[in-house]
Structures are given as C-alpha cells and as structure tokens.
Symmetry: C2
Subunit: 218 residues, 2 copies
C-alpha cells in the first residue's frame, strides 16, 4: 500500500463484487469495505452505487484518484500492483493456460450465458423455447465443461488456487440466487464449491460482504 | 515458434475470431489460418467448427497438443508466450490501468450487452420495452463511455495501440453486422474506427479472414 492509503472496495450486496472482497482477504491486504444494499423489491443497485461509475455496474474500487470497474480488470490490478502477481500464473508457471482460459471464460462466456437465461426467465418465456435453445444449451455446455475440468483438477487452473477460482466461484454459487440451478447432476462442481467455500478467506469475505446471506455452497 | 510448429487459428467467418488473425498479423507471427463459413441462412457456425471445442464457440486456436478457446485467453496466451507480452502493458507501463479496464470490458460487459439487445431483437421484442430498458441503456451507456474515452486518448489504453484495441474493435465494427448501430452520435468512435481500420495488419487480417466482407469502418 502506498502510505496510509487504503483501497476502497465498493460492494453491492449479493453481487460479483464479492470477488474483490474475497481477493483482498486471500492476499491479506488492508482495504476499506463500503457496502450497498439492493432495493428489496426490484433487487436493483441503489442510485448511490450506480453513481460511483459511469456505467453503474459492480464492482468498483477506488485507489487514491483511481476509480476502476470490471471484475477481471480489478482482480488483475490488485494482484499485479499490490501482490507481485500472486494468484495469477505467468507463462513459466504450471496452470498458465488453464488459468487464462477459466479466468476469461467466467465473465466472457459463463456469466453472460446465465444472464441470457435469466433475461428469458424474466421476460416470462418458457425455460427453453426454440428461439433461446442455443442460449440455454450454452449454459448447460458450460456446466458440463466445468464438471469435466473439476474431475481432472482440484482447482480451475490445476493444483493451485488462483484468481481463476475467484472469477469462477460467483457464477457457481451466489449467482444461483438470481438464476437457480440444481447442482445434483454435477458432483465434481458440488465437491469443489463445498471445499473452496471452506477457505477461511472466503468465509471472512462473505461474513463481511453479505452478513445476512448464507453462501450457496450446495 | 517451437520448431516448425505453427499456431493454427480456426476462424469462423464474420466473428470475434478476427481478433486472433489480426493479433498474429500485428505481431508478425507465422500462423496457419483455417476458415469456416457460417450457414448462409441461419448464420450459425457449421458443425465442423462447433466440433473443435466442447462449447462450440469462436475463436479456437491449436498450438501443438493445446486447444484453446475464449478470445481474451487466446490474446493473452499469444502475446505472453510468443511475443514477450507485447501489446499487453504491465504495472510499470503507462496505460496499465486503462488497458486492464478496456481489455476486460470488451467481453465482460460490451459484447454481452449487445448480445442481450440482439436477443431481444430476435425474439421480436420492441427495441426498448420496459423489461429490457436496463439492457438497452447499458449498451448506450457503454457507447457513451467509449466516446468519452476516445475524446481523451488515441487508443483505448492511451497513446499506444494495445491488445485492448484488438478486443474492443470487433464490437465496434464487425458486430454491427448482426446488431446494427448508427455511429453518427459518436464522432470520436467514428474517427477511431476509421484510423485503426487503416492499420496494415488489420487490413491484411480482414482480407485473409473475411475476403468477401467489407469491414464496417463507418
């Protein structure tokens, strides 16, 4: 940390900004947590949260004069600037390629695919009409791929816990609060979610970030 | 390159895999381009393309035994493994933070937001009914943010062309073939698209990747 300046983590309740709180706990960084609750009826972010960034999306951090959004960017920023790249394997590390794939897959494919399902659901469309079949099956295909991966490795990138786990965990857990999914067909995913959910840093993060929310670990 | 092994770039016509062809041209890498045309009616990827990866999504590269998908992962892989990180600023470089934001924003927010608009369009919903207003306005907000950014800097990350431009260019250009958007309200975006579209590497890439398609540079 530069001088006494702390990273401010603006956390929207029950949102992907839990990743940033968790990362700070994993890295034992000093940080200041600022919580914002969703509207209890619409579940939308409050206006004061939306005002933090031009696009009104979570997460957002402040670091001195810097205001930065976008989970993937924030996770890379924190690891590279404040932890010598910890949790981010480089080209010389085992798991480099798997790390890259799953790290980018989380927000590049998995989350958008679930958002599409959710959007269809909210529009009152049947679960898988012809027009959205390709989207529904993309999330199914993603789950199949994750299940297979977790049958071959303990963590997304291989033997070691990395930022790819931090990125992938939210869609496999908390995001199911909005887009329910039964994990019964995915025993490897279930075991992974249970095991990673026991990490002390995750427990500390969730207790601080969403004290009234029980993490979805099954 | 290891020995005589070439990276194989599997390119689905008129898709975000154009980014990988472009990156290889920018870096002057030797690579083997394999093209696949979309079905002329459904515009879907052919089965042989879908068979390349479990999720059937573009782009896909092969590098020896490795098969890798997900644009962001591939772009990072190629720069870090074969070009000493060229096009990817590190913590000590100017533009590090802006690079991170726009690189991740491209596939983490902008492309999914346009996909949501496109999905509403295909379902025959009016352009912005109440239920999809938030989604429509997210793409609008994204364009406003990009317009403002390009009023302050020549490239997404600052003074230098980086992989953030490679990631952002597809949604600003080719993706408008599927989800039309009039760039008239965005003069900075128009100037950027025209200027970057004149890069010799982009022209070579598009001529090879989509020879029958005129790049959408206005």
């Amino acid at each position: 940390m530069k001088g006494t300046q702390l990273i401010k983590v603006h956390h929207l309740g029950i949102s992907q900004s839990e990743r940033i709180v968790w990362q700070c706990e994993e890295l034992n960084l000093d940080y200041q947590l600022l919580r914002y609750d969703r509207d209890p009826v619409s579940r939308r972010a409050p206006l004061e949260y939306k005002a933090l960034s031009r696009l009104g999306i979570a997460p957002v951090i402040e670091d001195g004069d810097l205001v930065l959004g976008e989970s993937g960017a924030i996770v890379e920023y924190i690891s590279r600037r404040y932890a010598n790249g910890r949790l981010i394997p480089g080209p010389g590390d085992a798991g480099f390629v798997d790390f890259l794939f799953w790290f980018h897959f989380a927000n590049g494919t998995l989350v958008p695919s679930i958002m599409m399902d959710l959007s269809a659901l909210r529009l009152g469309l049947p679960a898988k009409p012809a027009a959205t079949k390709a989207q529904g099956s993309r999330t199914d295909g993603a789950y199949d791929a994750i299940e297979q991966r977790l049958g071959a490795a303990a963590y997304m990138a291989g033997d070691e816990f990395t930022a790819a786990d931090i990125m992938m965990f939210f869609p496999l857990t908390t995001m199911r609060f909005f887009a329910p999914r039964d994990l019964t067909p995915y025993p490897n995913v279930r075991a992974y979610v249970r095991r990673v959910g026991e990490r002390p840093a995750y427990r500390r993060a969730m207790a601080k970030a969403d004290p009234d929310f029980a993490p979805l670990l099954s």
